[in-house]
């Protein structure tokens, strides 16, 4: 079976599975404080009305440039941040507003893999303890058994069992990321949000981690929300891809559709901007003008209209909704 067939196969099979996560009109604003009493004087609209679903066993990639709100989306879904508005349904259950012990309990099912392999591991904890902690937060366990379990988990993510007794500072970035993955796996979660899991890694190590994530997905039937700024990495990892710009989801499509036929001007620019390690390909590049506007003060209408090469008058007035223009291909642009 060729890789291409494999992917097609996968996409087909996924369509029959249940929706694991449904996000509706999610908004997450950060208050901007100022003055003596630190009053709220404005909001950073980090995530501004985002909706999507993830099916069980699927990988949804979220891609966008820095500050587009993709990480905030991931963290809000895990309820590490408080959503300002909207709904998050996990296995059909509302988790948007729960808090305290209830939230803590719910967190068992969704875990996160973090970006920075150096900052995401507590340097004062032994690796074994780092991985055991999530389990011990939920269950009382026999120490010996637990140790065995964690050691097998370590070997699953490609680390020697001896790593159990070591500290994070003794590992390289790639190995640390494996520890982070092991921690996320420890609770046997249903959803893993991987927030730029390889952006801090070197190319050769990056490929190891990406391969590992893929292997684990199949082994544990994991569902991923895969967040990255690198479109080629996202493409490699995801079944479907969402493109974010300034807190908005501007395009959602299957992996192949998106690359073959990007519809949104921003997606087009993004794809064309990626330098290919292939001198045979000479792309015509769409170079965008200017910078991303501040999310504290986003433009009216379509968030992209200030830089869009195809902007029309209507773009500055109305924010186009995300709509399905082809089967499985959603885009938020007046052109369609």
């Amino acid at each position: 079976m060729t890789t291409r067939d494999f992917i097609q196969d996968r996409i087909d099979s996924l369509e029959n599975r249940d929706v694991l996560l449904e996000v509706q009109n999610l908004k997450t604003y950060y208050p901007v404080r100022g003055g003596f009493f630190k009053r709220t004087i404005g909001h950073v609209k980090a995530v501004d009305d985002v909706s999507f679903t993830i099916r069980k066993g699927e990988t949804l990639g979220l891609v966008g440039e820095s500050g587009c709100g993709k990480s905030t989306t991931g963290r809000t879904i895990l309820r590490l941040l408080k959503p300002t508005d909207g709904q998050i349904l996990f296995e059909g259950k509302e988790i948007t507003k729960i808090s305290g012990a209830k939230l803590q309990k719910a967190r068992r099912d969704f875990q996160m893999v973090f970006q920075d392999p150096y900052a995401s591991l507590n340097p004062t904890q032994m690796v074994g303890d780092i991985i055991a902690e999530p389990i011990l937060n939920y269950e009382k366990r026999n120490k010996k058994e637990l140790e065995q379990e964690i050691k097998s988990l370590l070997s699953k993510v490609g680390l020697p069992e001896a790593a159990y007794y070591k500290y994070a500072h003794e590992f390289s970035g790639g190995q640390r990321q494996r520890i982070g993955i092991a921690r996320a796996l420890a609770l046997n979660p249903k959803l893993i949000v991987a927030d730029e899991p390889v952006s801090a890694l070197d190319v050769s190590v990056q490929s190891q981690v990406l391969n590992l994530l893929k292997e684990l997905q199949i082994e544990f039937d994991l569902t991923y929300l895969f967040i990255a700024h690198d479109l080629s990495v996202v493409k490699h990892m995801s079944d479907r891809i969402g493109v974010m710009y300034l807190g908005n989801l501007v395009e959602v499509a299957s992996n192949r559709d998106l690359y073959k036929e990007p519809l949104h001007p921003y997606t087009q620019a993004l794809i064309s901007a990626i330098p290919e390690p292939n001198t045979a390909i000479k792309k015509e590049r769409i170079v965008l003008e200017g910078d991303v506007p501040s999310p504290q003060n986003p433009p009216t209408g379509c968030p992209f209209h200030t830089r869009c090469p195809m902007a029309m008058e209507v773009c500055s007035k109305e924010k186009p909704p995300l709509k399905e223009v082809r089967p499985g291909h959603h885009v938020a642009c007046v052109l369609y």
Partner: protein, 348 residues
């Protein structure tokens, strides 16, 4: 840009010969760059690729003699600029070259600019360092430089501070600063790594444009093979302080010879093709402190390694036209009959 220039047409702009740069760790020096030789011709864009810690940044700093004082030191070899050895120059003499003949831009445009001085001041400084002109003239030059690197409202921006600009704008300021004295060589050390992909595209376009307009040579240091493929003429691949492969850009991407280069290319997810499993390179780069004395430094990670790789140090040798690699697989001086077979040199 003078008559002198023409008389040197045959000489490469920059020649680096057997450069060795050491770093002091716990009182001892260890070479982070070990015997690197290459040259840069006028108007040429040379890319240097390699993963972090491979010595590419150290090499570029060595050329500029910007190694941290007391910690980093050039321990051997020569750096010839327009035929003149500049690796032994005093700091004062070197200052006449830095910013004027050779200039440099860095990865982090935020931290590379002094936060407490205006953009204008920082550009004027480089001009005033090398040219005897009035402050007023220097300021006018700064504004036009800013315009030339595509900064809108340049006359306002000169009076602003770095933190008021976006990352892309800051990198443009850095470029303006670097080209202020029309250098013959620009060393760009990961100039787009900290930038978003759309901004990276802008900056790469800008660099290319400037290179063409100013007849400037560029050494572009990056870990991103895509960037290299985009704008470079020639590529050096570094691993563990050494150059393992050197080729023109087309040659390298179409026909990678060194197993390291080969694996590196296969490890990257590509937009243009779907691969289910990426190539990986197992193991780790050996530490600077216990680098093998002899043998290939990639040997312990190399899927095509032979026992000899641990004992024979490969030399950079021509493997094709405009293509050199340092690997025993291609070493012509290898005794006849014992030449190792080369299956597995490239992974399936």
């Amino acid at each position: 840009m003078s008559a002198k220039n023409t008389s040197f047409t045959q000489t490469p702009l920059l020649q680096v010969e057997n450069l060795q740069t050491g770093f002091k760790i716990d009182g001892d020096f260890f070479n982070a760059v070990e015997g690197v030789s290459f040259e840069v011709k006028r108007k040429q864009i040379v890319g240097v690729v390699g993963e972090s810690g491979c010595g590419k940044s150290v090499m570029s700093l060595s050329i500029m003699q910007l190694l941290p004082t007391g910690i980093g030191k050039i321990r051997g070899g020569e750096v010839k600029f327009e035929g003149e050895n500049i690796s032994k120059l005093s700091d004062k003499k070197m200052n006449n070259i830095r910013g004027k003949d050779i200039s440099m831009i860095f990865q982090e445009p935020m931290t590379s600019l002094n936060p407490v001085f205006t953009i204008g001041y920082q550009i004027e400084e480089v001009i005033l360092n090398h040219e005897k002109i009035s402050k007023k003239e220097a300021r006018l030059r700064s504004v036009s430089l800013l315009k030339s690197v595509g900064i809108p409202r340049a006359d306002k921006i000169v009076d602003e501070y770095p933190h008021q600009l976006s990352g892309g704008m800051r990198q443009r300021v850095m470029i303006a600063m670097a080209i202020a004295c029309q250098p013959k060589l620009l060393i760009a050390d990961e100039p787009t790594t900290a930038l978003d992909v759309t901004v990276q595209a802008q900056i790469l376009d800008l660099l290319k444009g400037i290179q063409e307009a100013n007849d400037m040579a560029i050494i572009l240091i990056t870990h991103d093979l895509g960037v290299v493929a985009e704008i470079c003429d020639e590529v050096l691949v570094m691993y563990a302080g050494k150059i393992v492969e050197k080729a023109t850009v087309d040659e390298l991407f179409n026909n990678p010879k060194h197993p390291y280069t080969d694996l590196l290319m296969k490890a990257i997810p590509r937009m243009d093709e779907d691969v289910e499993v990426l190539a990986t390179i197992d193991g780790l780069v050996p530490s600077v402190m216990n680098m093998p004395e002899v043998g290939c430094r990639f040997a312990n990670r190399c899927p095509s390694a032979m026992p000899e790789c641990l004992t024979v140090t490969p030399r950079l040798g021509e493997v094709a036209a405009h293509h050199e690699a340092a690997c025993l697989l291609y070493d012509e001086s290898w005794p006849e009959g014992t030449k190792p077979y080369r299956e597995g040199a490239s992974m399936a």
